[in-house]
């Protein structure tokens, strides 16, 4: 009987690994295709694209496409800009949206229900519908910088950051998460004389690892993939991010090997960030469980 059980367990394990392996392959193959293609000359890349050789480092393999990509576009500048804009926006977004969510859930103030409804209503607005009004606004806003007061935010990092530090979705995520936190903790802290700021910093945020990780990943992806807005507000090459930079490679005759090399390079920060937060995400769930 025990032998049969072991067999069943083995079979179940094998099946599970087979299914997981298949899913992993489906998700990993596009990345493998991208990296392998980035190592091949265009003609071979196109020939291989119809068969399994597309996923293998075979044929005329070299780093020439990477060299050519750096010659065609200032890749390092684009990656730096994207990482800077995305990183700062994610940090500010986590701070502001979590504080907003905290205020909506734990602090009693007049009109919070209405304001939350209005905030949530912004979720149904596609960015394209507000892009032009936003452009007209930021083109005439003042800014205090090293040159004193200047007018117009175009061609800057802050024009790519500030409009995105708060958004309805991220606030909503925090609101939903905070609602599930045990109210007894907050009440106990209030009874002990803790201020709202102390409760936010010392009780709520330490318990918010999973939602911070989730919100950070979602915001990172949105910001790193920004195309329309930076295209509209950055006429100077020095401020352009990676997705606008991708257009440098789409000339009349597309150099697909260079496109793949560029994509491979700009994918690295995304994967690194995701893998880092995936660990934090799991660790947060394990360490912040509250049992009643």
């Amino acid at each position: 009987m025990a032998l049969i059980s072991a067999d069943n367990r083995g079979l179940r394990l094998a099946t599970r690994y087979a299914v997981l392996g298949l899913i992993a392959v489906i998700f990993v193959f596009p990345l493998v295709f991208m990296v392998m293609s980035s190592l091949k000359p265009d003609q071979q890349l196109l020939q291989d694209s119809g068969n399994l050789r597309a996923f293998l480092p075979v044929g005329d393999i070299s780093l020439d496409n990477y060299t050519a990509a750096f010659q065609r576009a200032p890749v390092a500048t684009f990656v730096f800009n994207s990482v800077l804009v995305t990183g700062v926006t994610v940090l500010l977004s986590l701070l502001i949206c979590s504080a907003a969510g905290f205020a909506f859930v734990f602090v009693n103030w007049k009109g919070r229900g209405v304001l939350l409804s209005i905030l949530l209503a912004t979720l149904i607005l596609p960015f394209e519908t507000i892009a032009i009004p936003m452009l007209l606004m930021v083109a005439h806003l003042p800014w205090i910088g090293t040159e004193g007061i200047t007018w117009g935010w175009l061609n800057s990092y802050h024009v790519q950051i500030i409009p995105f530090v708060a958004d309805g979705l991220t606030v909503f995520l925090f609101v939903q998460y905070f609602k599930d936190l045990p109210g007894e903790l907050i009440e106990a802290a209030r009874v002990e004389g803790a201020s709202w700021g102390q409760i936010y910093r010392r009780i709520v945020m330490p318990l918010s690892g999973p939602i911070l990780a989730t919100a950070a990943i979602l915001k990172f992806l949105v910001m790193y993939n920004q195309y329309l807005w930076p295209l509209m507000v950055t006429q100077e090459e020095g401020y352009r991010p990676v997705m606008v930079g991708l257009q440098y490679f789409f000339q009349l005759n597309v150099a697909w090997g260079e496109v793949m090399a560029y994509l491979s390079m700009i994918t690295v920060p995304v994967l690194a960030f995701y893998l880092y937060l995936q660990k934090a995400f799991i660790a947060s769930i394990a360490s912040t469980g509250v049992k009643g």
Binding site: L135, V138, Q235, Q247, F249
Partner: protein, 420 residues
């Protein structure tokens, strides 16, 4: 007292130095160009700017380059934000829209200097010159002399092009030979502006057009009249009867002719050297005459002055400077396009008399027709593209062209006739 004298002298010297510096300072002209990502093109435009800046003391051009695929959107956004440069470049058929929308102002240059420029390089809207190009592009029917010989076909010339019957007979012969996957490569993989640029000349050669050019206020009769219907049936027949493929792999467009998949390829002069490299006996035939004369598209990228430029004289001075034959020749040598003047063409090995691509100069001069010169073209181009793609994929010809004409008419009406 000594101290006072010293201070006064220093102040006077500083003032004089500042004045002299101001007198020598060049006024900066900003310029946007679509060539980011194209190393050769950027090198040429930078050399041109360096030469201009060194040639005089009044103006200094500073360049911002944009990737071509994002350029038009950047200009529109810049116009909305009130942030256009002094000098910009514009794709020829888009110029009327930008002029009408208030993005550009008329270009005031000595027009005797462009008297001998190819017609497609001159951007004229509402009777005024708005832009001028250093080059033009042209399309030809690419094939091999050995193919013509093998199929027993006459080699057409621009003065005696193939008739529609001759063209179809050539496709039939290629199909019957069974040597190629398809007789004709139309470049269906290239979506976007390629459709109106490359295929509306077929419609015009039938006697139709995207819009009625006598008024520019309707597409009725032009896009859905008898000639247009005949064109639509012919166009659909190309795919239905196996002469060409309605959907094409981009790789086949880039390398299919060289790989021997197609007997004929409808392609531009920018791809001509590649074809010659693949087959030294490549020949570039003129467009067939489908009834109303052979037609090909015209107008490529051109320079103009933004409406908000505070220094239009400086911008015009730069553009006039760029019109020298040596720059026309340099751009042609670098990016393979047709120099705007015959004298510049003579400076380019590919395009000078007897050069391997010289026929393109002749085709541009004799058969080129600019796309409809109207602000509504930007919409009409997309409507036309969709209609042709639908017909190629089997949609009803009459219904599709009628719907396209209605859509164009509605857009013209919505925009108050676009100023016509």
């Amino acid at each position: 007292m000594k101290l006072f004298k010293f201070a006064a002298s220093a102040a006077i010297m500083a003032w004089a130095a500042a004045g002299a510096s101001a007198a020598l300072a060049q006024t900066t002209l900003s310029m946007w160009y679509h060539g980011a990502g194209n190393e050769v093109e950027l090198k040429l435009i930078n050399e041109l700017i360096t030469d201009f800046n060194a040639s005089q003391t009044d103006w200094k051009v500073e360049l911002q380059s944009f990737p071509q695929a994002a350029y038009n959107d950047s200009v529109v956004a810049g116009a909305l934000a009130g942030n256009l440069p002094d000098i910009l470049d514009v794709d020829g058929p888009n110029m009327p829209n930008w002029a009408w929308a208030g993005y550009m102002q008329p270009l005031v240059i000595d027009e005797t200097k462009i008297a001998n420029f190819l017609p497609g390089t001159k951007g004229v809207w509402d009777g005024k010159l708005y832009s001028i190009g250093l080059w033009d592009a042209a399309v030809a029917l690419v094939t091999r002399q050995s193919t013509l010989d093998e199929l027993g076909l006459r080699k057409p010339t621009v003065d005696a092009p193939w008739t529609k019957d001759e063209f179809m007979a050539a496709l039939d012969a290629a199909k019957a030979a069974g040597k190629w996957e398809f007789p004709l490569d139309l470049g269906m993989a290239w979506t976007g502006e390629w459709y109106p640029y490359a295929f509306s000349p077929f419609l015009q050669s039938f006697g139709g057009d995207i819009v009625d050019r006598t008024t520019y206020k309707t597409a009725e009769g032009a896009l859905n009249g008898d000639a247009a219907m005949a064109f639509g049936e012919w166009w659909q027949g190309l795919f239905k009867n196996g002469y060409a493929q309605a959907t094409q792999d981009p790789a086949d467009r880039d390398g299919g002719f060289a790989a021997g998949k197609y007997a004929f390829s409808w392609n531009g002069n920018w791809a001509a050297l590649g074809a010659l490299a693949a087959f030294p006996d490549t020949v570039f035939l003129p467009a067939p005459d489908l009834g109303a004369g052979p037609k090909i598209g015209a107008a490529s990228w051109q320079f103009g002055v933004s409406a908000t430029s505070k220094n239009p004289q400086g911008a015009a001075a730069f553009i006039e400077f760029a019109l020298q034959d040596k720059y026309l020749a340099a751009f042609s040598n670098g990016i393979g396009l047709i120099p705007a003047t015959p004298t510049a063409a003579e400076m380019v090995d590919n395009y000078k008399a007897g050069g391997p691509l010289s026929v393109f100069v002749e085709y541009s001069a004799k058969t080129a027709l600019v796309r409809p010169v109207t602000p509504g073209y930007v919409v009409q181009a997309k409507v036309f593209e969709k209609a042709l793609a639908d017909i190629a994929n089997g949609a009803d010809v009459a219904a599709t062209l009628d719907a396209a004409a209605d859509e164009i008419n509605a857009d013209i009406e919505k925009n108050g006739g676009y100023g016509h």
